[in-house]
């Protein structure tokens, strides 16, 4: 009986979507190079440009499976923007640099400092990310803050802020750091403009502080509609990892950076009442559920035509370090408020973890560059290709006054919808590292309505709650042909609830 049950279970398990529709290929690593990937881009000639942990920037020709060296000796490159076949902007710890091959021998001979007017305390956690470029050519970079896992160095670059419980000497006193570090704040921003996004004019000559409140924003990029997206990492003041749509002058929640606000009143941000900080902060447009969807989200990229089904073209795809999956973002809008649902991609596939940087090749291949930097992760590069076969997926999630509408890529079987399970919870905004789910509640399905074409499903749940992350367990859903979902969970952050 038991054996028969197992057998029929196997028969009833449809093939995973990724196996039917995608191939995963490990790229050869360049010889003698630590293959932890910090930045990726695609050259107009089709080659993939990859910057590694120890500072090599190499180009990969997929047709020949060959690597060539473009530049060397960079420090922790964590973002790049290819300008043309001979010029690449790259963000290093210390500066935004333009690498140029002026004599056209395939190797950069100019390392031009485009922008370095920001502080460095020498702390390991002060990573720098970017650049993203807007339609007018302005560049945006974003600067992570320091960790109290280590003090500042004896020598710093840029201005030091006296605001804080520890003075300059104490902040760099390694011998007494264990005793003092608690007073520094879990993450600190005692040197110039840490925790800020900076906007740089196209010619690199003008720079302005653009937005504040960032912690460890390991992802910056414009989406298909021109919104400037930033991902940040769960930690202090980050109950779970957020996705932000950044606006000029916005404060994005991590208070350490406030000391660099031009009109800041001089208070220690850690002594400002949480309520006051909460009222100041801009709301996340999406949340990556910690331990479920993503623990350390990374770079956002826009899905181009040909790489995934048409319904996904223009959607944002985001990498993730800890969980063995990527994150697909589904946009929604309520009364002009942009908000998102997030769905896992390639869970259960050979993808693995450490998915730090994403780039699409001209043939639609998705390249994933991996890193760890002593955190959970991996190394090397993976190429993922879609073979054009359609599969079952959630393509839209729309907030309604009394629930949600889900749009699927294929007609779904009516009887598979009854077991859809929806919960919601919120988070407390606080200085502590991470946070448990708060006010977790189950939302019983009051009614399920399926459209005549079988692709649209309305879940009647009652009124939605603002500032709540609504989680959908869609594992039971099947297409009419018996296909399982590629991405069978979804998390929708209700910033604004429809009236």
């Amino acid at each position: 009986m038991k054996r028969f049950f197992l057998f029929s279970l196997l028969l009833s398990l449809p093939a995973w979507g990724w196996k039917e529709s995608f191939s995963f290929e490990q790229l050869p690593n360049p010889e003698g190079v630590d293959p932890q990937v910090g930045a990726m881009g695609v050259m107009p000639d089709g080659r993939l440009a990859v910057a590694f942990h120890r500072g090599e920037l190499m180009c990969y020709d997929a047709s020949k499976k060959q690597w060539s060296m473009f530049a060397r000796g960079l420090q922790e490159p964590l973002g790049m923007l290819v300008e043309n076949d001979h010029s690449i902007l790259v963000m290093q710890r210390a500066e935004l640099t333009r690498l140029r091959d002026t004599d056209r021998d395939g190797v950069a001979d100019e390392y031009e400092t485009v922008f370095d007017d920001f502080g460095m305390s020498g702390n390991y956690h002060e990573f720098a990310y970017g650049p993203a470029r807007d339609s007018e050519g302005n560049l945006y970079i974003v600067l992570g803050v320091a960790s109290n896992g280590a003090p500042m160095a004896a020598e710093i670059r840029g201005e030091f802020s006296e605001i804080g419980r520890l003075n300059r000497q104490q902040m760099s006193d390694l011998a007494n750091w264990k005793k003092n570090s608690g007073a520094a704040g879990r993450m600190y921003a005692r040197v110039h403009d840490r925790g800020w996004m900076i906007k740089i004019s196209p010619d690199g000559k003008k720079a302005e502080p653009y937005a504040s409140g960032f912690r460890s924003p390991n992802g910056i990029g414009f989406d298909a509609k021109g919104r400037l997206l930033v991902t940040d990492n769960q930690g202090d003041w980050r109950p779970t990892s957020p996705l932000y749509s950044v606006k000029k002058g916005g404060f994005y929640g991590h208070p350490a950076s406030l000391v660099w606000k031009s009109d800041w009143d001089g208070r220690d941000p850690l002594k400002v009442p949480v309520k006051e900080l909460d009222a100041m902060q801009e709301k996340a447009v999406g949340y990556f559920a910690q331990g479920e969807l993503a623990n350390s989200p990374t770079w956002p990229v826009v899905i181009p035509k040909g790489s995934f089904p048409d319904a996904w073209v223009g959607a944002t795809l985001i990498g993730e370090m800890n969980q063995r999956q990527l994150v697909r973002v589904i946009d929604d809008e309520v009364d002009g408020q942009f908000q998102t649902a997030m769905v896992p991609l390639f869970d259960g596939s050979p993808l693995g973890m450490g998915n730090n940087r994403l780039a699409f090749g001209q043939d639609g291949s998705l390249y994933v560059g991996k890193t760890a930097l002593s955190w959970p992760g991996s190394k090397g590069l993976m190429r993922i290709r879609w073979n054009g076969k359609e599969f079952l997926s959630v393509d839209a999630v729309k907030a309604l006054a009394d629930g949600f509408e889900l749009v699927f890529s294929q007609p779904v079987a009516q009887e598979s919808l009854a077991k859809i399970a929806v919960t919601r919870h919120t988070y407390e905004y606080h200085a502590a590292y991470g946070a448990p789910k708060k006010n977790l509640e189950k939302l019983p399905l009051q009614q399920v309505e399926r459209s005549a074409d079988g692709r649209r499903v309305r879940l009647k749940l009652g009124a939605l709650r603002e500032s709540y992350l609504h989680s959908f367990d869609l594992r039971s859903v099947r297409s009419q042909d018996g296909n399982q979902l590629l991405g069978d969970r979804a998390w929708y952050q209700v910033v604004k609830a429809p009236k």
């Binding site: 120890r54 210390a94 500066e95 400092t113 370095d116 160095a153 331990g291 009516q414 590292y433 019983p444």
Partner: protein, 293 residues
């Protein structure tokens, strides 16, 4: 729209999220597996080691997971697992105790696996990295196998030169940059301030590369400065060339101390007691030859 929708009611779904016991293996996979392997340390200690520490102490295990601290030299601090909840953490505990039973810890590989690679051993070499006794925006330069220097891109000045090799960057590279590179060899020459004086406004403009040797470009006030370093022809030192644009209208005094251990010769200008006086026509090419024993 509504008329095209087929409607069916949902019955008896309220119990779909009943209180099932948490699945320790699944919770472990989602929250812990990225850092903790069965028999060897990766990001955090192995399950075999954790079992040794926490066997019979589930309360201590939960306490640690909710409020972890930095315990190990060179390892990152574990993030709090508070979001998993007490019940979930106890299920993870049971899972770990079970799977790690009888497992022994494997030894880890020591040292830099890329130390002998072509990329790490080629000379000359330019490498940005956190350096000792310099600012955080430092650049290490090996002009040849024996002679190296540290350039500070923040202060726009040479910090020191050393002989005997280049750097060991592994303390930085093996992790996330929480350690400095170490020097291979002995420091022979140190500059306490810029040759142009400590009080000048400076701006770094980057560097150009020719045959793998850098020329640094920076601004001192209104003056553009280029400074390059190359190996001495006899293989016993470093040739340093500074050129100013525009050249100054009158004599310029630059500060260059004598090497602690070695000699310096200037091609032009008057060098006396740490001060080099150059005439305007000499300022487009100031060349110093450093020789070290």
């Amino acid at each position: 729209m509504k008329s095209v929708l087929r409607i069916f009611a949902i019955l008896g779904l309220a119990s779909s999220l009943a209180h099932a016991a948490p699945d320790g293996a699944q919770l472990f996979a989602n929250n812990c597996a990225a850092c903790h392997q069965l028999d060897q340390m990766v990001v955090g200690p192995s399950l075999a080691e954790i079992r040794g520490i926490y066997q019979g102490k589930p309360d201590d295990f939960v306490k640690w997971c909710v409020a972890p601290q930095r315990k190990r030299q060179g390892a990152i601090e574990m993030p709090s697992m508070v979001h998993v909840g007490d019940e979930g953490l106890r299920a993870i505990y049971a899972h770990v105790m079970k799977v790690a039973e009888g497992v022994t810890v494997k030894k880890q590989q020591q040292g830099d696996p890329f130390a002998a690679s072509r990329e790490m051993t080629k000379r000359p070499q330019v490498q940005r990295i956190f350096m000792p006794d310099s600012g955080p925006a430092s650049i290490a330069v090996a002009v040849d196998a024996q002679h190296s220097l540290c350039w500070d891109a923040g202060a726009c000045r040479l910090r020191y030169m050393w002989t005997g090799g280049f750097i060991d960057g592994y303390p930085y590279w093996k992790g996330n940059g929480s350690s400095l590179a170490t020097l291979v060899g002995q420091v022979r020459y140190t500059e306490a301030e810029s040759p142009f004086g400590a009080d000048k406004k400076v701006k770094f403009r980057g560097y150009t590369m020719k045959q793998d040797r850098p020329t640094f470009h920076y601004q001192v006030g209104e003056m553009r400065v280029s400074e390059s370093f190359s190996a001495a022809a006899d293989g016993k030192g470093i040739v340093r060339k500074i050129s100013l644009d525009p050249t100054p209208a009158s004599d310029l005094v630059l500060h260059f101390p004598a090497p602690q251990n070695g000699t310096v010769k200037v091609e032009s200008g008057q060098w006396r007691e740490g001060k080099l006086t150059v005439r305007p026509e000499q300022a487009s090419s100031i060349v110093l030859h450093y020789s070290f024993p």
